[in-house]
């Protein structure tokens, strides 16, 4: 086998197969979604659910996300620093990587395709309320929007607000309610 990187080889295969009409983004995405979208973000969902239930963990998570999630030993590195930002009734956080597609994938799985889209990357900074409304998040005027730009060094995770009426739910039940999009900040 050649010494070229696997990501380059994979990209080359994908481009050739697309040219030949043998695969489409949609078909590949569908497979990945089936295996990854539902299970991948569960790492993050477990963290969020625990933060909703355990005030000490929540505090630890917000003050040093990297240290707080370390005991989980999530696989898939390249996340030197994790910063967790908390949504409140008056603050809504949303995450982007304006330069490329940095993403806390050890805890959220594969990034959605739109996350890498140049339109999302530029517009979420320029007009976050409009973009969020397109995602179905209608923010009240008095809610401040904070946009966090990921980098190779720092990855962000949004701690969504705990859903109303979720009192009495177990951590596992709560985790089922945490979506990937909510942890990126494009859903509540």
């Amino acid at each position: 086998m050649s010494e070229s990187s696997p990501s380059l080889r994979a990209e080359a295969i994908e481009s050739l197969l697309k040219e030949r009409g043998l695969i489409s983004d949609e078909a590949v995405d569908r497979v990945i979604a089936m295996y990854n979208e539902r299970v991948g973000p569960m790492n993050g969902a477990r963290v969020v659910a625990r933060a909703w239930i355990d005030p000490d963990f929540r505090q630890a998570l917000l003050s040093d996300g990297t240290a707080a999630v370390a005991p989980y030993e999530f696989e898939g590195g390249q996340m030197e620093k994790l910063v967790v930002v908390e949504n409140t009734p008056t603050v809504h956080n949303v995450v982007v990587c304006t330069l490329c597609s940095c993403y806390p994938w050890a805890i959220l799985g594969l990034p959605p395709r739109w996350y890498k889209d140049p339109a999302y990357r530029s517009r979420i900074v320029r007009e976050p309320r409009k973009v969020l409304s397109e995602f179905g998040v209608a923010l009240e005027d008095d809610v401040e929007v904070r946009v966090w730009d990921s980098s190779a060094e720092v990855r962000y995770l949004v701690l969504p607000q705990r859903p109303l009426g979720s009192q009495g739910m177990s951590e596992d039940q709560l985790a089922q309610h945490v979506t990937r999009d909510a942890m990126i900040g494009v859903a509540r």
Partner: protein, 120 residues
């Protein structure tokens, strides 16, 4: 999804699982995983032919490395995909090499590569 996917989840060609979840350590791994299943679902090749290549690649890696050394599952997976596509005369080796050279010669600031910063 057809039965091809279900068949891949048992036996020695099964992907790494953590707590029952399929895990990808890098986006390209998800892409090759997704491509292989999509091609099989479309009938471009039979899943078992791919699986045979995968098992062969894994066995070759294991025989060349000491037991207990974490094996790079998706490197094997990618090699198996290359192998089955070449054997089925779908993507010839020289076409692939040519495309790799093309993509590899893009300017360094293409889409902001920084070090081991991930890309798929």
């Amino acid at each position: 999804m057809t039965e091809s996917a279900a068949l891949s989840l048992d036996g020695m060609a099964a992907p790494p699982m953590v707590n029952g979840e399929v895990t990808f350590d890098a986006p390209w791994q998800g892409r090759v995983f997704g491509m292989a299943h999509a091609l099989a679902d479309r009938g471009v090749f039979v899943w078992d032919d791919f699986r045979a290549c995968l098992i062969e690649r894994i066995a070759a890696w294991e025989s060349a490395h000491p037991e207990g050394e974490g094996y790079p599952y998706y490197d094997c997976f990618l090699e198996a995909l290359e192998r089955v596509l070449a054997e089925k005369r779908i993507v010839h080796d020289h076409d692939l090499s040519h495309r790799i050279a093309e993509l590899g010669s893009r300017p360094h600031d293409h889409d902001h590569h920084h070090g081991d910063h991930h890309h798929d």
